[in-house]
Subunit: 210 residues, 2 copies
DNA sequence: ATATCCAAAATTGGCGCCAATTTATGCTAA
DNA sequence: TTAGCATAAATTGGCGCCAATTTTGGATAT
């Protein structure tokens, strides 16, 4: 009985338009500043009007899009000060748990991080910008998860989205990407060696230049 | 021309049902765990069904209420671990900017903080729990604003709401309230004296016991 | 030729209805 | 008397329509 219900429940969490729009903002498909017309989104994502509106409202709550009453929603573009402030927050949080990360990291964790850092490396040459972006996310997620504070992980994931509204375009220079990759390895090495001071320093520099 | 528009713009930002429900959750009128039926809210706040649903969706996004599909929304009650994790986050952020707070505080700022701390003191005896709660919020808002990072202020305001779902009921013991008040004064004194270490310590203890 | 004003088109946003699901109630059978 | 089931009530949630506002295009007057 209730085949449909069963199907729904077993099925991976039904993806919501919010995530689709979010992904397109993150990957730069929807450029910062551009207006998000409800009709366009409705067609693009093959969904209904109320769904679009709910998604836009959610993204506005997260300050990823800005809402102008009776005018519509447009992709938010953080000014320099806001970006700097958010970076500051990330540095406080991520360096603040650096010692916990180093303490909790098992040999297997270090190995997994090495692999993720290597994957990022590899994708610099072979992958698309989007793949690179996602590999970066995966690395940082794994790294931060070691701190043991899942609320903090969620929070940082959230505010990381807030800064890098157009992360793909930001990484235009090869030199900068390679620098990022070096810092990834630097972090892993610091963890493996238990050098929390070096880890904090690497994290700090990494966030500042991102 | 456009009298209405003018009126609307000049008028204080039209308050939204979300804030009303939020306030009632914060002050404990809507108890943790209780179900928020759409019909009840619709009547209680004299608003339409879609407004209620939008508000509930927003509060669910902020994790102040929990959504169970086809069952409804109920006030979120954080378990011990989550509460501890959120406290940990607040300590990282608020002690992290303690030096900035101390550095930026002018004589007038210190005076204003003294006044807010005194107001809290006074309300312990004379005020209602809600007034006390709001005086506490005002003190902390003023204090944190001195750090100069407005994004951080917004963020902490947001996550502070997340921990203390029923702050009024938490403060049942007089002893605890008075301890809080002492710590307020302790913080102000530390700022006035420029003793950042003492400030960090006071903030840390204050958050942990809250 | 250009600025201003008016009208039409497009877009946003509010509201109510109805289907789907869940919960409560009462009835029947063991 | 109690457990199970079926039916009814209540609640949630999706969808579409229409009003309100804004924008665009064009016509007129200076």
């Amino acid at each position: 009985m209730n085949k449909v219900k069963q199907r729904e429940a077993n099925n991976a969490t039904a993806i919501d338009v919010t995530d689709l729009i979010l992904h397109d903002i993150q990957t730069g498909v929807l450029a910062p500043g551009s207006w998000l017309k409800q009709i366009d989104l409705e067609q693009r994502y093959q969904c209904t009007r109320p769904e679009v509106r709910r998604a836009l409202d959610r993204l506005a709550q997260r300050r990823l899009v800005e809402h102008v009453p009776n005018r519509g929603y447009h992709v938010f573009e953080p000014d320099g000060r806001q970006a700097a402030e958010v970076s500051e927050i990330r540095i406080l949080l991520e360096t603040g748990v650096a010692d916990k990360i180093a303490a909790n990291a098992s040999r297997a964790d270090v190995e997994a991080l090495r692999e993720l850092a290597a994957r990022f490396d590899k994708l610099i040459l072979e992958g698309t910008p989007i793949e690179l972006y996602e590999a970066n996310l995966a690395f940082h997620y794994r790294l931060l998860s070691l701190c043991g504070n899942s609320e903090l992980v969620k929070l940082v994931t959230e505010i990381r989205q807030r800064t890098s509204s157009a992360p793909v375009s930001q990484w235009k220079t090869r030199a900068r990407i390679e620098q990022s990759s070096r810092e990834h390895h630097e972090m892993v090495n610091a963890i493996a060696a238990g050098e929390t001071a070096a880890l904090k320093d690497a994290i700090s520099r990494h966030i500042r230049q991102d």
